[in-house]
Each structure stands twice: as structure tokens, then as C-alpha cells.
Amino acid sequence: MNDTVKLPASLTGNPRLDRWVKFEDDRTVRVASGKVEIGQGIVTALAQIAADELDLPLNRVTLLSGSTEHGPDEQYTSSSLSIMVSGASIRLVCAEVRALLTEQAALRLNCSPEDLIVSDGAFVRDGAPTGLDYWDVAPALDLSRAPTGRAKPKAASAYRLVGQDVPRADLPGKVCGAPDTYLHDMRPAGAVHARTLRQPNPGAVLTDLDEASVRRASGDPALRIVRRANFVAFVSQSERAAEAAAVHAESNATWSGLRDLRGPEQEGGWLVGRPAELREIGAPTANTSGATMIEATYTRPYIAHASMGPSAGVALYDGETMTIWSHGQGMHPLRKNIAEVLGLDPAKVVCHHRHGPGCYGHNGADDAALDAGIVALALPGETVRLQWRREEEFAYEPVSPAMSVTVKVALDAAGNPTDWTQEIWSASHVQRPGSGSGYLLASEALENPPGPVKVTDPPEERGGGGTRNAVPLYRMAAHRIRHHLVTQGPVRTSALRGLGAPTNVFAMECMMDELAARAGKDPLAYRLALLDDARARAVLERTAAMSGWAKRGKGGEGKGLGIAFARYKNMAAYSAVAVAVTVDEEVRLDHVWSASDAGLVINPDGARNQLEGGIVQAASFALKEQVRLEGSGIASRDWDAYPILRFSEIPPVDVEVIGSADDPALGMGECTVGPTCAAIGNAVAHALGRRIYDMPLNRERIMAALLA
């Protein structure tokens, strides 16, 4: 059939309608997604899509997310892909199910399917109820079949709920402190609490631990210690005792094979020249002899996810099946990874997702789930609730890699770029077990640590990792990326909001300002003259208008206004951000404006929430954040050592969502992050009359720039 719709990857990977949709006895419909709620409102948005396709009100749709038992396998929730991929799958499945049910009803009513419409799940014919509804006819349908893609989803003009501001379903419980809101709140009857003693670095060997003194320090004479090779956990009825044991053990354990980091490793610039795999992507190196060449290097340090709550996991092994509750971002991969490390049949591991504190990438959640699993395996029949300490979270979660990005540009006589090279040094941005080159943390400490893994980064067709957003959208003859994937870094790295995009956009968009200045042009006008994509121009023009760009002064007096643009991954949402700053010894954000175009927006208010959050988080990255490395690893282990932006530092932020509902929905969770970093860089340069090339743009850097 040539009018079938191309099935998205989530659907071809889970080709059974009943993995997605189930008609419940209470006349609701349960729609399942492998994507999970990470504070981004995805559950609400997917329910809106399903309700629209099924012609149901929202209160008849419940969304089951992240269950290896009942739901589809959609790998990880990441990269702003949920609406694009899971949303498209749910839309197709629901359209097909509605069509099948309508055919079934028509058969029973002896009419044509076209004669029936659906209202609140009931079939209506000629304006009169037929006495049949979805739940009456559903039992006659076998939904264990594969979707065909032959039912056409609704046209955008027919949406009732998609495109409306729908309040988040999870928020009422969260403002009331309702029980069992987060995984961390689970306290099944008889559950025991656990904390770990972490292996300080891979390869370190625990040579001495005085268990008697740990037990004394815990205050619980019955404290149990689960020990396997270099993995140790302390288990008690009392959470406080388990915590005290871990604190004492950490300061009293003796290890051999400790690393000795000295500090320089914590800077992006340290990466240059380290062992790496080099790839050249794009146009062959051009002969630029005779052209004016401009070159500058921009860096960013390691950044922590710094989730508000430390990672936790709950596990119960009944002697046969291991059940895990986790706030990780992918339950199917977690099941496979945990089964592998614990030597269990994957069919005997069940993983359930529970809400956690937002982390915007791959933090310690999966690792804590394995920790809990290891302890549960040793204590069959007991539910183990294992939580990391705050210091443990900062010290052992994978961090977002530091980067060094050198931009080399050839200019024509008018000062416009003709050739662009973005040369990147970075460790891997995705070491999620099962999808990248990583492994679960505790597997390093067990009897047979994993051998060296081949270091990989996401491929360019999925947006790249270190190379994300390294291709300029500005008109020029040729461009290329030189990507040095650093294979031996000082610290475990993995995904954080935007992967390489914040640094690449910072480098590219700061360079654009430098080029505009050389050409004697206004930075906005310079960009617009080089952009052919109308949607790109529109977000820039709107943002500029919001910020009063036309009245932008000469700068240099401590007040600055900067602007920057990117289309996330060069294929998701378009976004521009303008930032006004005052700089004395520190950067003070005075105002932020941003316009974004994500095509069809499922829940506009939810989208604005994400855009605002991205701006604030990116401002925090750009101004304050740096993981400190010293000794065996990460030395910044609390909020004093790792400050983030606070309420008193938050400027007014105005965001607008522009763009047309006729354009397909584009992921937008991360689109403001890169432009915010770059707009801050440009605003500070405007305020100071000189540029700072290294994030964070903190007090030391400002003082150094002022004294230079």
C-alpha cells in the first residue's frame, strides 16, 4: 500500500498494538510509553496526543511510563526526542486502534465506519447514541497484532487538546508533599536502608576496612555489611545508622591504586593533545592561502548534573526474580545491564520507573539501581532502599565532558566567512550502559571488572555528541569538523542537557560576534545577512525586537547586550536568546529574552517552562559551574564547592514560542541552552570591550580580563 505512514523507530521496535494501548474495565484507556517523566511534562504531553487521536477527554487516558513488564522498549528518554518519536508512535497507534474499533462497531451496527463518530469513547450515528462504545467492542479485537500504519492520524486542524495549555498531571502531588511522589519516598514494609563505600577510582583496591569500628560508628550493633571485592554496602533498619557507617568507612578505609590528579586536568584546555581518535567530517580541507584567517579557542570545564536529590534505587530479590525501582531514564536498558552484571536471566529482572529529582541526562540513577540490586541479591527476601550520599552524588556521577573548541575561519574581502573549521577536543558525551561505551559504576568494583571498552560518541545522524551543533547554518562555501574524541579522560563522562551543543554554540556564536566586529557590522545584521532559513531569521528578529536591540549602545561601560542563535542539533527547534548584563567584578544578569520555533507545540505552557528552565540552567553553566578535580577524582563534593545560580541571581526572563502548528513538532527541551551560553559570552564581551573565551565566566575570569 502506498498510502501507509512510515512507522517511527519506537514502533518498529515494539510492533504490537497491545504494548501501547489497553482498554481498562473502568472505561479508561491505558496508553504506555517507554519514555519517562523527568520533570519535562512528557507524560501530560503524550496523554494529550493519545486523547486527541482516540477522541477521548484527558480524564479517560492514563499514561503508563517506563515499565519493562507492560510497556514498550524505547531505550532512553533523551535528546528532546520524546515528542518526535514516542509522540509520533502513540499518534499512529491510537489512530489505528480507533479505526479498528470503529470498523468493529460498524460491523455490529451494520453500517459503514464513515457513519460513526466517536464522542467520549462512545459511537454516535446521525447524532444519536448507538449504545456501543470502545470498551464494548474492544474485547472482540486482537490487539496483539503489528501496527500497519494504514490509519491516517488526524490533521493538525482537528486537534482539540494538542496545542492547548494543559496543567501538568504530576504537579498537584508535588506541591502537597504527597506520599510516594518520588522513588526516594518508597518505604515498603520491612525495607532496609543501605549506603555504600565507593571505590575511589577504577582499579583501586580496598586493602583495609575495620568493620568493627564501622559498626560501632553506625550506632547499630546489628549493622550488616555486604562486601564483594571492592564493593561495600552497609545495611540497617535505620537510615541514619547506614549513613553514619558509610561516612565513617569512607574516612577510615585504606585503598591502593589511587590516582593522583593535580588540578590542571579539570580545564578544557588540558584535553588538547591527549590520546584521541580523530575524525574529519564535512568538506575537505580547503586551500585558504591568501584569505584572511581568524582563529580562536573556547573552552568549558566538566559540569555536574547536580541533581537536587542524590541517586537512589530500591530492589527486592525473591530468590528468583529481581525487581528494581529506579529513577533512571531507560528501564529496558537498565534491566539488561543489571541482569548482565548480576548474572541473572534478563527475563528474571523487572524494572519500574519512579519519579526522581531532575537531572537532565545520565547521572548516578542507573548506578544506584545496580547498587541496590547487588545488596538485594545478597539479602534475598528483603527490600533494599539504597540512597547515595550528597558527597557521593557529586563525586561519582558521570559528569558532562570538558571541551576545547578551536574555530578557524577564512574571510572574504567583505569580512564574510567562506570556510569554517570547528576543531573539537572532548571525551565521550554518552557513556550510558548499553547505548554508549559505558558500564554501570559498581561493576568496576566487583570481582571481574569490565575490560577496556571502545570509546564511542553518538553518530552525527543522531545529532552527534562532541560534534553536536558544530556545523554552522550560515551561508559559506565550505565547513568541516575535526573531532578529537579523547579516549583517556581523568573522570567518567556522560550525557548532560545538550551534550556538546552548549560549547559548540558558545564557540560558534562568540566567533560570529568577533567576525561582525571585524567587519564593522552590527552582530544581528551580520548574522541575518548570512542566514537563508526563514525560521532561523524569524527567531533572531523576534528576539532582537523583544530585547530592544535597536537601542543597543556601544558597550564597554560595564553594560552589555548580547545575542546568539542555534537550531538544536541542526534539526530540532530553532532558538535565539538575548541577554543584558552588568559586569563589575562579577556578571549580573539584568534580563533575558528568547524566541523559539518548535513547529507544532503539544502543550505551549509546558514548552515555555522548558525553555525558561533551559535558560536558567545554561546561565548557571556559563557563569558559575566547574567540577574540581584533585586526588583520586572529583573534589567538588558539596554545594559550596559546586555553586549553581540562586534566586537572587535570576533576572526577568521573557520567552515566546513562535512558529506554525502546520510544521512538525520539533524537540525543544534543550534548544535554549547553547544560545544562552553564547549570548552571555557576547553580552560580557560587549560590556567589557574584551572577550572571555573560557567558561565559566566567574569572578576570577572577570578579574583576570579586567587586569589584562
Binding site: L171, V175, G177, P310, R390, V616, W639, F647
Partner: protein, 161 residues
Amino acid sequence: MSGSNTLTVNGKAFSLPDHVTPDTPLLDILRNTLGLTGTRFGCGLEQCGACMVLVDGQPVQACNAALDSVAGKAVTTIEGLAGPDGKLHPLQQAFLDEQAGQCGYCLSGILMAAKALLDRNPAPSRTEIAAALDANLCRCGSHIRILKAVERAAATLRAEG
């Protein structure tokens, strides 16, 4: 057998079991003894505000407040913010109206800090709200909506008189 320690939370007096000692942190008692898990553990270091509760109306970080420091005082937690009839406090309603929050992990502590502010200053400026919330961290960047929500709640409370 219940021990000699008692604690008043959200207007109810609890007598605490023997394993709770005068130096037990309030947060541990709330979450593990009383089952009031709405107050969050964030750091245990008095650095993040996730564990904020009110003690005699003052915002206190419960993670390091020992039981004996709150003995005889009235503790209010997020579970005690809504009315006894379940009617949301204007702050909670304002947070819903503004959709202020993403993951929501920080919200219990922030709501309690905001309650303490509005109790002593019914008409705070944006700067005063930010100052009152400065001990509370939020990783999701929900600050903008949270500030608006506190302003909205203040207006509601003033209108209600």
C-alpha cells in the same frame, strides 16, 4: 513501647519510639519515623533547602536540626500547609496556577520558605522574595515561575484579608 520524646508536627503531638534520640535529625524523624516523606533530603549539609520546614513559624533546615532543638516547638511541614479540609494553601494554588516547577523536588522546601516570608511580610517585592528563597536551590531552573507564584499567592492572601 513509646519513649519519652515527643514532637508536635502539623498540630499533632507524636510520642517517638526509643530509637529516636535527642540528637536524631528532625528530617530523619519526619521521613522515617512519622512517614512524612514530603520534606526532602537533598544534601544533609544545610546547603540546599530541600528539607526546609517551619519551627515556630521560622524556616529551618530539618536535615541537621536535632530533635532536642525543636522540642516543645511547633513544627510545620509541607503536609501541614493545606487546610485540614484539604483545601490548598494559596501558595500551593499559586504554584499550580503558574505551573511553577519541573521535577518538583525543591518545591516542598521552597513552599515552606515562602510561607515564612508571607507570614511576616504580606507584600514582598520581587527582590525580597528572591532573598527569602536564596537558601533554596532549584536545579530545573523553575525560579522564574516560582517567583511569580509567590507574588500571586501574596496578592491572593492580601485580597482574602
